[in-house]
Point group: D2
Chain length 306, copies 4
């Protein structure tokens, strides 16, 4: 089927360009607000080693919440099932930055992909890693097979300057005793992971281990067990797109994760990973063109896990 | 791989019997409360026409919320995408019978598998079918290839006598204008569909069209388009087990639907449908042994959509 | 101070007429929607037997939620402190017709003046009275010293035809076991009490026992003990105007009760009761002119309980 | 009636001592947890200059949330009605430290007596005062006619060390733009005001201006206009005891304010102020003996605003 990917990417690209201008670029920090809204790239990385791309697939962008999959992976690998006493694995039914459930459910976040859950994961990293930022960045370099990956300190700094909602969450969890470390230490990890700069191809490569039974295809290292990799995929399927998770399962039918930088990555187990980037978001913070492109991709290829 | 199913069923059965006594049979109506809590059956129906079963797989039980998949199918087939203006397709994050989201979201239920959503589906059936009860029962007979399927009028009557929470929901939706018909007409359909009596084999057979691209394998009739069938599977994956949906995706990794009668049905696209029945429920209303049995099934067979 | 009341009423009347047209008449039933929005009356009844009135003080209107004070009084007299196991006495912080708190607080309404609480009171009346409707209407005739008071059956019927939200509440409470009687029997009492037709003078007279230590001034009969009368006043102060209760305490500073028919009654203990009627409501369902008139009344007279 | 106060205080004291041991001392900071739970004092200060007291009325304690009345007074005097664009004046219906309403109501607290509201008031002080802490402490010395009043720095420090919930609130409000200053500057004022050490007599004296039309009786200075003083009383009546506000209005019938240090102060307009201190709290954070003592006080004296 692979021979069709270039053609399919062309079709998707031309059929979705018309959506440009219908969404809104995230504007809460200048570094995101200043992105050219017309940027649009797609990259596919197959398990057989083929790479397909179109548009701005080589321009790095702020991966934002997509980073939550990687920090979850690091902590899941470290803590195993013990992790699930710290964070749930159910969809939240609330906005990604809501404090309501946190208050009514004793400070335990519903899942690792809403902000509160990712902050608990960051707290675990602070507890278990001598240098969490180095661990994250090295992990990203390994997974994407790209030693150039790095944080964008200006973005991390901007996040800190406006991240009162996340600070509220950490403080609320601290009041429940559900995080262990200093508020600022946790936030520092979180704001940095959100600032990671990667392009579509980097992200497609970096997600490929989840299509590969947990094994990093670039060096053969076992990142997660096969069972754990399946479970991360399952979590992405159920909670990976916040309040668009049902919509994404319904229209795209693949495990995936989005970020407010405009990226969405999806996984087809045993086959490939695909990343789309277009900064204009719908009302729920999902890339408008990205979602449409992935729907077209599964429609045109006939691929679905369902 | 099929040759192993009898052996796998034996193993699952013996490994899960020890959980007996740890859950609680649904007690809100006598017809459910009086079920023998030790009942336990499993049935597998493959697309290749093979049937495997163990235990009480031939004893009919009240399918309860599993019926929501069938009424959704009937209405989805009838209304197509127009259906989604009436009901959402996101996980709710709340209990299956909560009215809170309904109040804060203008009477539009989050998805067709929480009670409020199923009541909207029942309302659609009342509007579009000259005889909704006959349509449902005939549909079940066709899907399960069993002309004996029927409602249990005593259960339907009991449901009506205690169904104040469902009556509250319909009235609340009526106040928002999100249902069209008389409150009692809607409830009558709903209480009847919950009372359908089917056994594990009936249910495994009746779900097989969802593993078969929407085509009823027993008569070759197209029930849903292939795309629609995938979408029903996706919805089951994300919302099929209420507040256990994330847990079910995480541990079992298959689209499925549960009922408080103790049944759970799961679908492996292009392969089979499997139904487990054990009436003892966990705190979230899911069959305790059923969930464990399905987790073992995917572990032992290595089958997963992820 | 009494000699000033006619002058004060004149001033209030002329100073508030300009607000006409800024609110919205309740429109959920025709009988309310068809009221002339320009109607405006005020009546004062003092303990010394003096009566002052201006404008449309003799035109009966639908008292709606003001009736909740009377049914509470009937049930409080009958059950005494035992009543408070059935309904709370705290402000709700939610809209008068919200089901959210009811769901999260096990079906026990926060206070007797939100709809759910009044429905519990109606349930008590059904349980304890051989003929609740007759008891209510006779009580109103006694309190207002007017044998002509009656229900408006057309309004009661309209309420029933649109009262799905109230039906939802009763059903939800029924599911929690917090009401005892048939849903329709409870609603019948509630819809009738809301339909009572009284004019400003009737209502000022009917509230006077609450300024009089619980004694009906027209026949000397003890309706409530002095302590109970104070407590009903305290409840009105804290919860009598739904989400405007704080605002009303702040700007008017008197115990009072409003209805969506546009009436507001307030009590000055040991002195008088005053009723204003103007059908145009603010966003929280309180008479816009009525609230302003009462603020002017306490400002001009210097009277306040604080 | 004054001649009875000593006798009445004796009676109250002996009738309520039996409740000792039924509540729980606030334990979230050592300085509060270490208070002798048996402490119990009452002080009355009348407008006629008489003072009555019993028990531990001269032992200073941490006034905690009672301080909110004083900071509100300072800011209300400064900003006048403009204050109410920053904070509401409705009961919250939620716990004093809940973030839920804050999230759903765009960061505007319901009233100045829940924590979020008091933090907005603290923010106003930081904005408008060159030295907020000095202003607060000087104000307390003036109002209580006691130049010894001071903060307890150890308590303020403890509050800071455990005040994650309050930090969460300020951060959440900061994310909505509803506070202007640095998070720590706001919290510093708040934690200090809570640490003020005053005894029953100090507090009875310091509240007397609210019974005196806004005029400080010790130096004749107008603190608030008469109308403003009434309004502060009205707010205390409706929201002064958090989730016990309705209960307090119902059983005591006076405007009042409580703190988790175990103090409750109540005002009888034009007559007196009374303060009770007993550190054992009920489940809603109100002094158990304090509430009972005030109920007995109004019962025995027959005094009530209702």
């Amino acid at each position: 089927m692979n021979e069709n990917y270039p053609q399919i990417l062309e079709e998707i690209y031309s059929e979705t360009l018309g959506l440009s201008g219908k969404g809104k670029v995230a504007a809460y920090i200048p570094a995101l607000a200043n992105v050219n809204p017309k940027r649009y790239g797609i990259a596919i990385q197959t398990l057989q080693g083929e790479t397909f791309q179109i548009g701005d697939a080589n321009i790095p962008f702020s991966i934002q919440s997509i980073s939550k999959v990687f920090t979850l992976t690091l902590v899941f690998r470290e803590l195993g099932e013990a992790l699930w006493s710290r964070v749930g694995r159910e969809p939240s039914g609330n906005a990604f930055n809501s404090l309501i459930q946190l208050e009514t459910e004793n400070g335990i976040p519903r899942n690792p992909f809403i902000n509160a859950g990712a902050l608990v994961i960051a707290d675990c990293l602070v507890s278990h890693s001598p240098n969490p930022l180095a661990e994250i960045v090295n992990f990203m370099r390994e997974l994407s097979d790209n030693p150039e990956i790095n944080f964008n300190e200006a973005i991390a700094e901007s996040e800190r300057g406006t991240g009162f909602r996340n600070a509220a969450m950490v403080n609320l969890m601290k009041s429940f005793g559900s995080v262990e470390n200093e508020v600022n230490a946790i936030l520092d990890v979180y704001f940095h992971q959100c600032s990671l700069m990667m392009n579509c191809l980097d992200l497609a490569k970096a997600f490929l281990f989840l299509a590969n039974g947990g094994v990093n295809p670039w060096n053969g290292r076992k990142i997660l067990t096969s069972s754990q990799a399946k479970r991360v995929n399952a979590l992405m399927q159920v909670c990976g797109l916040y309040d668009d998770s049902g919509e994404f399962a319904f229209t795209v039918g693949l495990p995936g994760k989005s970020g407010v930088g405009g990226g969405i990555v999806a996984v087809i187990p045993n086959l490939l990973a695909i990343c789309v980037w277009s900064p204009e978001l719908n009302e729920r913070g999902t890339s408008l063109i990205g979602m449409q492109a992935l729907e077209l991709f599964t429609t045109k290829t006939g691929v679905s896990i369902f």
